[in-house]
Symmetry: C2
Subunit: 310 residues, 2 copies
DNA sequence: ATGGGGACATAAGCTGGCGTTATGAGTGAG
DNA sequence: CTCACTCATAACGCCAGCTTATGTCCCCAT
């Protein structure tokens, strides 16, 4: 019948752009199109038209307009919550990308391992920006050696490394532990086990793993005593996750890489007994040069709001 | 010095749009601008220009171009992972919004409680689309009463409800449990406790809660034996989370609402002892009308890839 | 009751971003 | 040496979204 429109495009054609989503969040929060428009620095007609075209695009009424304000419809509330998650991911992107660009005016230069730079640092930077909006941060991502080099050459003010050892010449404090966990797709037999796995089972089962030499692989192998049987070897955490999601087999990866997948049961965590699958995450700085100023502020955030280290 | 550009706009001006992010992911996966362009159904010059303007916008080189392909730079890999999370959130938005619109041609009509519709269903629908791309789904979100009405009026094929009781006239199967958890900002004294909380402590401490009558509030109060002392009462899970993030106090909310906040330690989970803070999530259908066809497919996904119920 | 003010809608015009086609230039393989 | 592949550049067109200017509705205060 009415096969007039078959968008058949990428997501971008079916999902409103970030500006529209921000607008929707503002409308939800402020209860008025006009006020939301003002907050975003656009005019009221622009906001009106934008919300309208968003509704047209989605085929769903999002806001109830009235002569004295606008409130979300039920569907609008649902859509707004999904929108919020996009915007939050965009904030992470933004603060991360902003730190990546080399700025000469950075007041705080951070060097961090990949895992930390990817998963943890943006959150800290968002929190830091909330407290100290004027602190421009620059980020360099690399392995422990790189981080140490930068710090010792005074090209970074604060570093973050993962793994069992602290590079020479640096003082360190453990800020958290990264737990590796075993996951499978929900259909896998392990997902129905009642007893935790033990080391022997884990070592004797082919697993989806990062490549040999990677941080997570090292932790696993040292925990198992040198043995780990790869089912597939992949070069990024993301690839491991995708592979596990597709049901290829059990995977071992950092809990940091799992978000919704666990709570929505798209992946199932398999308990493991008697194997210490974790590694320390440490903040580091040149021996003696205890972090001060912005570095100290950031360090405070990483340690759970306790500003003093000591 | 060079204060030429101060974007000073919303996120939308600093974060590339979804089309650009999808393009970046395709380039990362395929190793070539041209191939990525083809996959997205645009021309190679369009892709080239888009990636270039994204690099200009971010001030970071993302891909190394060579006469025989393009690979991500180190910074590009990081940016791409952040981009992936935006795109994943956009997929959730897309599949959810698509289901919300009333389609006459829906092959599967679902009625679900808010929590399930918001957090769980999109993931299931993405999985369902992967297996049965032709299944058009429509979604109606509402409380248990609404869900039951729709099912009994044959206006929905499958329902999802949360809470201790199964509405009359429906058969049900428990598909999961929603665990309520107690969280605080990392700076809160509870975050440093070593012993789990007990019921008495929980009941005697003012908490950030949903309003009286809400599902999560009911679970908490029945678990505590009727008592719950609100510090603030808020009308959405999201508001509770924001409030907890800002350090207003301990909050009780569904683990489904927490994503990164926990693993990145922006919120800390406080263990609780001797209180059963969970509620069953159930799939429901009219007594006797065992789900078949698409409804059965979806039901299978919710139960961890086991297609057969029974 | 009557005007003022807030909220949203509509209309007309401009602009810029992104797309297209057409072409050029560099590299490696047969 | 030519083909096949990569990416870059140029010239042009379209449309989404912005703006300003106006209209309508409703509530409230005088």
């Amino acid at each position: 019948m009415s096969e007039l429109e078959e968008p058949r495009g990428g997501l971008a054609h079916r999902v409103p752009d970030l500006g529209a989503l921000e607008l929707l969040l503002a409308v939800a929060r402020l209860g008025s199109l006009g006020r939301a428009a003002r907050e975003l620095g656009i005019t009221q007609p622009a906001a009106s038209s934008r919300v309208r075209s968003m509704e047209r695009q989605l085929g769903v009424a999002l806001v109830d307009r009235s002569p004295r304000g606008s409130r979300l419809t039920d569907a609008g509330a649902l859509v707004t919550d999904w929108a919020r998650r996009i915007v939050e991911a965009a904030e992470v992107f933004d603060v991360g990308a902003q730190a990546l660009r080399d700025r000469r005016d950075s007041r705080l230069r951070v060097a961090a391992s990949m895992t930390i730079a990817e998963y943890l640092l943006p959150g800290w930077l968002i929190a830091l920006r909330a407290e100290r909006p004027d602190t421009a941060v620059s980020l360099l991502a690399g392995n422990s050696t790189i981080v140490a080099e930068r710090l010792l050459a005074d090209e970074a003010d604060l570093g973050f490394v993962e793994g069992p050892t602290v590079p020479a010449g640096l003082d360190a404090v453990v800020i958290a532990h990264d737990h590796l966990i075993v996951v499978t797709a929900p259909g896998h037999p392990w997902a129905r086990r009642r007893r935790p796995l033990d080391a022997a089972e884990l070592a004797s089962t082919p697993l989806i793993l990062r490549e040999k030499g990677s941080g997570t692989r090292q932790v696993l192998e040292s925990a198992l005593g040198g043995l780990a049987r790869p089912l597939i070897e992949l070069s990024s955490t993301t690839a491991v996750k995708s592979s596990a999601l597709s049901g290829a087999g059990p995977a071992v990866l950092s809990e940091l890489a799992l978000g919704e997948e666990l709570s929505a049961r798209r992946l199932v965590r398999i308990p493991v007994d008697g194997v210490r699958l974790r590694r320390a995450l440490r903040a580091v700085w040149p021996t003696g040069h205890r972090p001060a100023g912005p570095a100290r502020d950031l360090l405070g955030l990483t340690r759970g709001g306790t500003p003093a280290v000591d």
